[in-house]
Amino acid sequence: MTRFWRWFWVLALGVPAAAFVVWGLADNAKLFLSTALNGLTLAALYFLVASGFTLVFGLMRNVNLAHGSLYLLGAYVGYVVGEWTGSWLLAVAAGFASAALFGLVLQVAVFRFMHGEDLRQTLVTIGLSIMMADVLLWKFGGEIYQFDPPRAIFGRTALPIVEVYPTYRLVLLAMSAAIGVLLWWFLNRTRVGMMIRAGVDDRGMLAAAGVNVQFVFAVTFAIGAGLAGFAGVMGGTALSIAPGEDTRYQLASLVVVIVGGMGSVVGAAIGAILIGVAEQFGLAYAPTYSVVFTFVIMALVLAFRPQGILGRRA
């Protein structure tokens, strides 16, 4: 991109955005800031779901359309464990572990045998997501469930201008950032992470270098699925869990990953922030058309950068 075009884009997108920020702050600073915080909280959730999705896609070219179902599975299992033991932390761990285990089984028992057949893998995940949604509806009914987090993180925190904000959502924000850093550390500083990155770049070379690719695939799928289950419990605590949430988060992670760029964890973070913030501002300032904002962002990115903001045309 030439310098002219970079400035063009900064001005074309930045000036209206800055104008909106100034207007929003002047008009109703409290509403504006709490909307921004809500947007970031939502973005934190989206990032947790989408990072696993993008990791799996980047390495295995497997569009896991059952990713939203893994979110719901983790949430429900976490809920059952939480009710049973009375511990929220155990619920979080159970959410992660159950989804990770399910993902591991899927990879080892099903997807391993369809390597390279992208379309067929996608169709299988669609079939799985339909069945999982129905089984979960069968077992847990249509009721809405909510978690009880420990009292320490449940109350409200006083903040300037916004006045009070639920502590849990701030915790969620911090947790999501921590997960992001952890993921970065795992991918950039550990041996398995190195293998995963190498696999994203060139699967064939990685196998030829003597790495057990199936092992790397299984680890990645388990981590990706586990993150979805983890997000399920976190999201279930911040909002609620109900049938239909799987589709919602499936779509969110699709859009986030399309915007951010396939296979890039940092891209997923950027996409999640863009989409989460746009969705919340849309809901607060133009409720009838809030979904249009998400769509416009996706359309703009696709029109001018089809590979996503941080995607590469490898």
């Binding site: 379309l119 079939g127 339909i130 069945m131 129905d134 779509l251 699709l254 009838t288 979904v291 045309r313």
Partner: protein, 381 residues
């Protein structure tokens, strides 16, 4: 991922799962014409050379069907399967012959339904109560334009990216229809949409509606069958198999793909108008995720290598939908259809048609072991 990687990935899976793989072009099957030299020229001979007993039987069966079936079977099963099959046919055309799996075909059909409900008469004040003929034309035109736009938008991507983008577009429209009250009437949508009466015949009655749906289904089938042999269709299949080579040969790949979306959009729009007449209503539920996926299920269930596939898939789907109560109870329909879909995807290369082809192959090797067997097989493939 680059286009080169895509082709590699696609070709790697080609042998086992061949929607997008190269297939030999159908060859004309020379047969001595019983009509002699006179009719051996022109399209009559061509038709005579192609029509087999099973085609005539199938046509007779669908024509006679409503006279032997109960109104329930005529309307709920027959007509619904034909209308759904028509929408799925548009996906088969795109996916099987264009290599572009679009999940937004139900969205295009839904747009046609919504537009009809907006322009024609319904129980909602938003409806403009224009003559139904005008409303149908407007609905088809607008839906086709939307289908083309969706195509123009998604041809920037390839393979599974297309699935994702079209799914996102479809769900975005669903949320838009649900949230917008000024045009789409929000959650309720349009209830009691008027079905026209032509010459005193109420089109919504089982028998007229069945024949109406049959007419458009046959029209869609023959249009697709014709297009596949026309230069446009052949070029499209070439693009499916190797876009880079077609581009080098001077074909405009993007234009062909977008044109395929237009054709598919028109077919889906006709199906959408039929569906709104069939249901008498259109609501966000009719374009929700489950219906986007259902169209894919129908197309994959039937098989994507022949335009008859989606209709077979639609019949199976509608039968399962109506009789799931007896098998697993009404509540567990999704489990059943998901399971059937999974079995088909896991164990067949091309839906029910794939099993049919395998079965025929098997029968041939069993009963036709003579010296000419191998030759017959090759010719009949």
């Amino acid at each position: 991922m680059s286009a080169a990687d895509w082709r590699k990935a696609m070709n790697a899976g080609a042998g086992r799962y061949a929607w997008t793989a190269a297939r030999p072009a159908p060859r004309p099957s020379p047969r001595p014409s019983p009509l002699g030299e006179v009719a051996a020229t022109g399209w009559a001979a061509w038709v005579w050379g192609r029509v087999r007993a099973r085609h005539v039987l199938a046509l007779l069966a669908v024509l006679v069907y409503p006279w032997v079936a109960t109104p329930f079977f005529t309307y709920q099963i027959g007509a619904q399967a034909l209308a759904l099959g028509l929408i799925a046919l548009s996906l088969t055309f795109l996916a099987g012959y264009g290599g572009m799996v679009s999940l937004a075909q139900m969205t295009v059909a839904g747009i046609a339904g919504y537009m009809y409900a907006i322009f024609a008469t319904s129980g909602t004040d938003i409806s403009l109560r224009w003559p139904w003929g005008l409303a149908v034309v407007l609905a088809l035109v607008i839906a086709t334009i939307c289908g083309t736009l969706i195509g123009w938008f998604s041809v920037r991507t390839e393979g599974i990216y297309t699935i994702m983008i079209t799914l996102a577009i479809g769900v975005a429209f669903y949320y838009l229809a649900q949230q917008n009250y000024s045009l789409f009437n929000g959650f309720q949508g349009f209830q009691s949409v008027m079905t026209p009466a032509v010459g005193g015949v109420e089109l919504r009655a089982p028998l007229p509606f069945y024949y109406l749906a049959l007419f458009w289904a046959l029209a869609g089938y023959f249009v697709v069958a014709y297009l596949l042999r026309a230069p446009f269709g052949v070029a499209l299949q070439g693009i499916r198999d190797n876009p880079r080579r077609m581009s080098a040969l001077g074909f405009n790949v993007t234009a062909h793909r977008v044109a395929a979306y237009s054709v598919a959009g028109l077919i889906a729009a006709v199906g959408g108008v039929l569906m709104v007449w069939y249901n008498g209503l259109v609501s966000p539920g009719s374009v929700g995720t489950s219906w986007l996926i259902n169209i894919l299920i129908i197309a994959v269930l039937g098989g994507m290598r022949h335009p008859i596939g989606p209709f077979i898939g639609a019949v199976v789907f509608v039968l399962l939908q109506n009789f799931a109560v007896d098998l697993v109870g009404r509540e567990r329909f999704n489990l059943l259809i998901g399971g059937v879909f999974l079995v088909i995807v896991l164990f067949s290369s091309d839906g029910l048609l794939g099993w049919w082809a395998q079965g025929r192959q098997y029968m041939k090797t069993q009963f036709n072991r003579g010296p000419g067997a191998a030759l017959t097989q090759r010719r009949r493939q």
